[in-house]
């Protein structure tokens, strides 16, 4: 049984069937890619995992617990972190602060008034943040303001923020969208290292290069429905996938 189980999820927007009986089973410590043409329902599906959308019917279970009807911060506290399409960071704060906040969230929970402690004396949290930033190759810029980073570095920072929480499941929504080739390759390497640490990942991606270099398993979404779920090698030659993507032409 997988770490994340999606069963019979349906979601309608007015008359549009965005998700149609979606079933996905994500094994722990694997990278599971969800691909599909534009408008296939990939982002809608991801939003159902993190409390942004509620499916009309169906269940989403993480380690046996339902993720439905929960606030985003509650889902995060269960061990699910998310990377956004455009990096969401704390732009006005320093890199170090950006990574210390999730570390505090992991330790202190959803809400805590610790107004009398000094951040300067939180050595453990700080060491943890510096360690993660070092892993991501951002340790030289600890005191820089995050909004000044390049897009590629913002993505690294966002990954660092997620890693500082030691998540069990990491959701990535087109992590390399809008990146240069070299930034994309760097990001792939980063995600490979993260995966090796035993973090389960779900990646939504357009870039087939990224998908085939990372994924252990791939689900292909087409018009809100999972048409195939298989190993990467088998997906490549699957006629259904080719039809979905290219309207019948061969890859």
């Amino acid at each position: 049984m997988g770490i994340l189980q999606v069963q019979g999820v349906n979601k309608n927007f007015g008359g549009l069937k965005a998700l149609d009986d979606v079933n996905i089973d994500v094994e722990a410590e694997t990278v599971h890619a969800i691909i599909g043409p534009n408008g296939a329902g990939k982002s809608t599906l991801l939003n159902c995992f993190i409390g942004r959308l509620e499916p009309d019917t169906g269940t989403v279970e993480f380690e046996g617990q339902s993720l439905l009807n929960r606030e985003p911060h509650e889902i995060n506290q269960m061990g699910v972190s998310r990377v956004f399409q455009t990096p969401e960071i704390f732009g006005d704060l320093t890199l170090l602060e950006n990574v210390m906040i999730p570390a505090f969230a992991k330790r202190d929970g959803i809400f805590k008034i610790n107004a009398w402690n000094s951040v300067a004396e939180e050595h453990e949290i700080k060491e943890r943040a510096v360690q993660v930033l070092e892993d991501m190759g951002l340790v030289d810029a600890l005191q820089d303001v995050a909004s000044q980073l390049s897009r590629g570095d913002k993505r690294r920072l966002e990954l660092a923020m997620c890693l500082a929480q030691e998540p069990k499941l990491l959701l990535l929504d087109e992590p390399t969208a809008g990146m240069s080739r070299s930034d994309t390759n760097n990001t792939i390497e980063l995600m490979k290292t993260i995966s090796k640490r035993g973090v389960t990942m779900i990646v939504i991606e357009h870039d087939m290069h990224v998908v085939f270099s990372l994924a252990d398993r791939i689900s292909v979404l087409h018009q809100g429905h999972v048409i195939v779920e298989d190993l990467p090698d088998k997906i490549k030659g699957n006629p259904k996938v080719q039809e979905a993507y290219l309207g019948g032409a061969h890859l």
């Binding site: 606030e71 995060n76 969401e88 732009g91 704060l93 210390m100 906040i101 969230a105 202190d108 000094s118």
Partner: protein, 398 residues
């Protein structure tokens, strides 16, 4: 020491020294001289500096850290004032219970207002707080007259049923005191032509100001303060980082409401009178101006802003035509008239105009407020000094 790092400790010590020596520092001009009218070292004004400083420090915890702009904070100050006067009427002329009850009542009121207003953010939040404050103001004026004494304002009377203490002493209302030290007491120190007044009331305000400032520094430097700044820069990310922003903003709102209540309590401790106009939107706007003028989100900015605005309101507004004619008396008559005519709109009753221009200049050129201005000056000075040092080094090299 004190749980502060070296820089904060230095800042705190400077504030402490300035606050404790204010009666001397604010009276730099000898009595009877031309410039004596610029002296601000009289008890009434110094108390106001400290009280509005506290008000602005609290406001800054909400606005400076979380970015939520409340336009209704005067309501908490007003509620605190009423609660304080009632304590003086019913309990005792000792100011301690009055101040404590002011803080508690304002805190409870801000829980209610905050809980409702914080359902929205941005401009809608500001409008909700404004609506609450104007509602409180209108209620205090009309329906709640039995509690607030309406237009006249709530004040002490000769027949107040004070539980601890007397209703009247020798036919007059007893003065407010701090365990026997009367607020209006003090002593005058005359040094040659200089005269300094050390007033008990001011020193109570100053010590509470220092405590408030210290607490605010601790909040700014704590993990809690870091979360508040995270709310300001990206609330969305904070949610997906496992933190619920709502209780954080509410906590900041209540803390700043309690600061406002404390300021209200101190006001009545100094002068036992509470009027509804204290809650009007102009009063709420004033604390916004103070915070932005001094530098929102900085530690010392709000106190500076409060000082500047209160100084203008009380000192600048006193300058009138006669004084102006005096200043320009060295000129020929026509020139004198022209100059007086030109300067006249900016002084006396026109002090708002000067303040407005100053506010505009600060917002346009120094978005970080007066604190940013000071920092820029500091850097400029440092650069010059470094250059000087470099030159000296070169000279030595020759």
């Amino acid at each position: 020491m004190l749980g502060l790092d070296a820089n904060d400790r230095k800042l705190f010590l400077i504030v402490a020294v300035v606050a404790l020596l204010a009666p001397i520092l604010l009276n730099p001009f000898p009595e009877g001289s031309e410039l004596a009218q610029f002296n601000a070292g009289y008890p009434d004004l110094m108390q106001r500096f400290a009280i509005f400083g506290i008000f602005a420090i609290g406001f800054n915890i909400l606005f400076g850290l979380t970015g939520y702009l409340s336009f209704g904070h005067a309501a908490f100050l007003g509620v605190g004032s009423y609660a304080g006067v009632w304590m003086l009427k019913l309990l005792s002329m000792n100011v301690v219970p009055a101040i404590i009850v002011s803080v508690v009542v304002a805190g409870l009121f801000s829980v209610v207002v905050g809980f409702i207003s914080l359902r929205r953010s941005g401009i809608y939040f500001s409008i909700l707080t404004l609506a609450f404050a104007q509602m409180s103001f209108a209620l205090a004026y009309s329906v709640l007259t039995p509690i607030t004494n309406g237009e006249t304002g709530l004040q002490l009377a000769l027949n107040d049923p004070r539980i601890f203490g007397d209703s009247q002493i020798d036919g007059s209302i007893p003065p407010t005191n701090f365990f026997g030290f009367e607020m209006r007491d003090g002593f005058e120190l005359a040094l040659g032509p200089w005269a300094f007044t050390f007033n008990v009331g001011y020193y109570l305000c100053a010590i509470i100001l220092l405590l408030s400032f210290y607490i605010s520094v601790r909040i700014f430097r704590s993990p809690f303060g870091m979360m508040l700044r995270a709310v300001k820069t990206n609330q969305q990310r904070l949610k997906y980082t496992g933190k619920n922003p709502k209780p954080y903003t509410l906590a900041a709102f209540v803390i700043s409401g309690m600061y406002a209540g404390l300021a209200g309590g101190l006001m009545v401790a100094m002068d036992p009178l509470a009027g509804a106009e204290r809650m009007q939107w102009t009063a709420s706007g004033e604390v916004v101006l103070m915070t932005i003028l001094g530098g929102a989100g900085t530690l010392i900015g709000p106190v500076l802003g409060a000082g500047v605005i209160k100084y203008f309101e009380n000192i600048f507004s006193k300058i009138n035509d006669t004084i102006l004619h005096n200043w320009f008396s060295f000129m020929p008559d026509t020139m004198q008239d022209i100059f007086v005519f030109l300067v006249n709109p900016f002084i006396g009753k026109g002090w708002h105009l000067t303040l407005g221009i100053m506010f505009m200049l600060v917002v346009i050129f120094l978005p970080g407020g007066l604190v940013e201005g000071a920092q820029k000056l500091g850097r400029l000075f440092k650069r010059k000094r470094n250059k000087q040092a470099d030159n000296n080094a070169l000279d030595a090299g020759d």
